[in-house]
Symmetry: C2
Subunit: 415 residues, 2 copies
């Protein structure tokens, strides 16, 4: 029999006895509290209580990390892993209600000076409601006709301020330089200075012309984020213009909006994770990417930003690699999505990235790492492709650079 | 001339020179970075750059609070308030894109060991796109026919496990006890063990019967949270059954889903803020309620949870009071919503709450604080009403209790 329970793993920090603390979490997120209320029979508790499946102490800390918790005097503050599970029938296949159950009020419970959702697992019943990524890795490769290497991309810059005409002119330059993929910045949507439809129309004219000539259609992820009806309308417009991808700021649009977009969409959804830092940067609050990516794969995105190693943000390389690998692991027997590696990327990280992830099923998005190449954008693209060739063949960048001029130039310029 | 700029205030923590740090924020969230890219003309920068409007140092800390930031050796780590502003034409009237601008990637910027969005202001142009609360305080009072005092409510308990029949039986007890308002727990939605429509149908039968008899219809906030089409269908069902309120877990549904619900709804939207702890509990990450409630008022909710003083969670009374008052302040000349005071509430907090907020325009939601009253639920409701009478008349609870038996009993039992 299939295990029809919802499971979640947490990091907690508390001065409470760990078993008591875990029982408070389980109680608050299912049948209620320690004080029985009328109607709360033994049978009801047996059928609907969340269960504490495991508790593992991992560390003591000198002081509570977050303020406001009810701390017991003279007792050490400890960190522990806690595993809880819920019967599926408590929730049903409903992503917002799943989140309210595994990641709702419990962040405010008084015993905890830290609480972070690390991982979550849902039973197969969710698959009937949420079919997941419609294109994923295979569909994205088919649309871009890029196989056996990363899809190499860039971002329109400057992020804000270009007219639709200027954007289209930049698109022309970028695709003629050999880029497989271009994306809107998350700051660009449907603004008065660059109306969405005009930007899409002019950019797709350029892309369609190029595709007719070369047989290869670069993918542009147009940022449709906004109200639901606007997003659907923008999707339809991109589709009608021959576009092959839409982008959404998933944290800002939210689960219901993204799931609706997935139901409607005939295009891959490029998931931008801006606001992710707010959800994850505290060591003891919010959630880990392992849990996060599962929820969004269920909602049905096809690509998800993971950051890249040696990035310009705050994230460690270990964390980045863990994120990329998480996207490439099976969820409910599939639901594969394409990790989007970006931020400070250029040819230089290809070998180390490939060594760590052992896969080329990624988007590799470079800004200055391609367009600022001393010999031009086309040379920038070639340098990145060469770097991944070296990675796949197990050759060092230095060695491969000796016979590949663009890579050699990149190594000299960027390092 | 109207100021058509978007404004945001942040708390930052950094070892960078404060002017440099603020300029990095502004650059990252508008035209780009310090390194100019082709096409980034002076005119473009002038028209589209975010501006640093003010910087105010407020403290030094001994060590960086969040890990991962690029810290300068031998330089103090400082906290400061930073005010940024953007031209409206960068974004347009689009809530998800507004959030991507004021609360997006900047949480991950390397110079910051802390960054929290404290406040945000949008120009009037947003009002044309987002009409805001449809019912708000006045509409909610009209539907409940409760004036000049708080709307007194409770929550169905146990949170999970009751059948629709058991829920309806509890509803009957609660409304006959005099409650104005009842809400689903956020853990209850449309689950296999309590299908939404059956729960609504049976509960509304009870409520409609009572309304026909007494002329007063208590409000039930049914939790419609879920996928967009499911939420709209559930709304329609509640409306058809004569219901007067729907509830949504706003953080889990997300901005686009809630805005869509607002467009469709003919009922007030009760905004449940579960997950709020994850967004706010770190002193230096996420966002403050001041900013948060404005965004959700624009999205169009009518009620918003604020916690209550002396609550069972981690929040201080000062923070709670600030939150309640924020909901009652004008936004774009209106957009008033009803703060929902809950968590550990009973008659005991009424006087202090009223003294602090100087208003009765709140929902006052008690669980055990009403239903566990030694003389029964009706006595519990009366004790809370009496406590607010005392508050409004400026009489102490002790004095008012002398002539009001239910309040007296509550004071003896709960204190």
């Amino acid at each position: 029999m299939k295990d029809q329970r919802i499971k979640a793993t947490y990091l907690i920090e508390t001065s409470f006895d760990l078993a008591t603390a875990a029982a408070i979490m389980a109680g608050e997120q299912s049948c209620g509290t320690f004080v029985r209320v009328p109607g709360e029979t033994d049978e009801l508790r047996e059928r609907f209580s969340a269960k504490v499946d495991a508790i593992q102490e991992i560390a003591q800390v000198v002081a509570p990390t977050l303020a406001g918790a009810k701390m017991k005097a003279g007792v050490p503050v400890r960190r522990a892993l806690v595993m809880l599970s819920w019967p599926f029938h408590n929730v049903g296949a409903n992503l917002p209600n799943l989140m309210a159950t595994v990641a709702g009020n419990l962040y405010e419970l008084a015993p905890f000076s830290g609480l972070k959702l690390l991982d979550v697992d849902v039973p197969d019943a969710f698959a009937q409601k949420y079919p997941g990524p419609q294109f994923g890795i295979a569909g994205t490769r088919k649309l871009t006709q890029v196989y056996d290497r990363p899809i190499i991309g860039t971002i329109i810059k400057p992020s804000v301020g270009l007219t639709p005409e200027a954007t289209a002119a930049q698109v022309k330059t970028l695709i003629e330089a050999g880029l497989d993929f271009i994306k809107d910045d998350e700051l660009m949507g449907d603004s008065p200075h660059s109306p969405f439809e005009e930007r899409v129309r002019l950019s797709m004219e350029v892309i369609n012309t190029y595709a007719n000539k070369t047989g290869k259609k670069p993918m542009f992820a147009f940022n449709v984020s906004g109200d639901v009806d606007d997003m659907l309308r923008r999707h339809d417009y991109v589709l009608a213009q021959g576009g092959t991808c839409i982008m959404a700021s998933i944290n800002q649009v939210g689960l219901s909006g993204v799931a609706k977009l997935r139901q409607h969409s005939q295009l891959p959804i490029h998931g931008h994770r801006n606001f992710w830092g707010a959800l994850s940067r505290s060591e003891v609050l919010g959630l880990e990417f392992t849990a996060y990516q599962k929820i969004w794969r269920l909602a049905g995105i096809d690509h998800l930003h993971t950051n890249g190693i040696r990035n310009k943000f705050c994230e460690s390389d270990e964390s980045v690699i863990r994120s990329v690998k998480a996207c490439l692991e099976s969820l409910l027997g599939g639901y594969y999505i394409m990790p989007v590696i970006s931020s400070g990327q250029w040819a230089g990280q290809a070998v180390d990235t490939y060594k760590a992830i052992e896969s080329t099923d990624v988007m590799y998005v470079c800004g200055g790492g391609i367009v600022a190449h001393p010999d031009g954008i086309a040379a920038g693209v070639r340098s990145v492709r060469q770097a991944w060739e070296a990675a796949i063949q197990g050759i060092s960048l230095t060695d491969y650079g000796k016979t590949h001029a663009e890579l050699q130039k990149a190594l000299e310029y960027y390092e």
